[in-house]
């Protein structure tokens, strides 16, 4: 049973528009959430995170929203750029579990010029 789900395997967006990537989780013990970006033949790189005590966190063009009651988080990228084309993974963790992360299956974002 997947505890972290990314239901959209792919997403295409026009350059300059907003990209919205979604993630759902089932484990109520998760209290921190992260987004990673991955290019082909490279390791994932950390993008942005949010703890369960917040509902929004911004870093430049990237904003993560957390809706705890719906067990849903989303990553907004505004404006989208062609260099943002990559696979995006959401991950969740329980602060009582030795810093383990549970990852979703990823969403391939393609930003069209």
């Amino acid at each position: 049973d997947q505890q972290v789900k990314q239901n959209s395997p792919s997403l295409s967006v026009q350059e300059g528009r907003i990209s919205i990537l979604n993630c759902d989780y089932t484990n109520s013990m998760f209290d921190y959430f992260l987004w990673y970006k991955k290019y082909p033949a490279e390791g994932p790189t950390f993008l942005i995170s949010i703890s369960s005590i917040k509902d929004k966190n911004e870093d430049g063009r990237f904003t993560v929203f957390l809706n705890k009651s719906a067990k849903h988080l989303s990553l907004h990228i505004v404006p989208s750029q062609p260099g943002d084309s990559a696979v995006y993974f959401c991950a969740a963790g329980d602060s009582g579990s030795a810093r383990q992360l549970t990852f979703g299956s990823g969403t391939q974002l393609t930003v069209l010029p």
Partner: protein, 116 residues
């Protein structure tokens, strides 16, 4: 080189062979992790370590062995490789930042393993 490195980057081996994937980090992070990435499954945790000589199983540990005699190294061994272990393997490290929610892990470049 500073950071986290993995070797080899590519490996082809035969069914039944033993193979070891190496992971080295220069940050002296306490926590280290091994993941495998497969299509449709994202990243799945194989084993993790909270410190030297402390290791524990993750979600998919069967067929794998780890050790951590030094903080900076965390090798992953497939004792008798099977075709189902064909995958991309990522090592990661993390460190506790006192009092905050900085739980990010830093990943190596990965090892693509093919078992024939």
């Amino acid at each position: 080189d500073a950071g986290i490195t993995q070797s080899p980057r590519y490996k082809i081996t035969e069914t039944g062979r033993q193979v070891t994937l190496m992971c080295h980090q220069t940050w002296s992070h306490s926590y280290m992790f091994w993941y495998r990435q497969d299509l449709g499954h994202g990243l799945r945790l194989i084993y993790y370590s909270a410190a030297a000589d402390i290791t524990d199983k993750g979600e998919v540990p069967d067929g794998y062995v780890v050790s951590r005699s030094k903080t900076e190294n965390f090798p992953l061994t497939l004792e008798s490789a099977t075709r189902s272990q064909t995958s991309v393997y990522f090592c990661a490290s993390s460190e506790r930042s006192g009092g905050d929610y900085s739980y990010e892990q830093y990943f190596g470049p990965g090892t693509r393993l093919t078992v024939t």
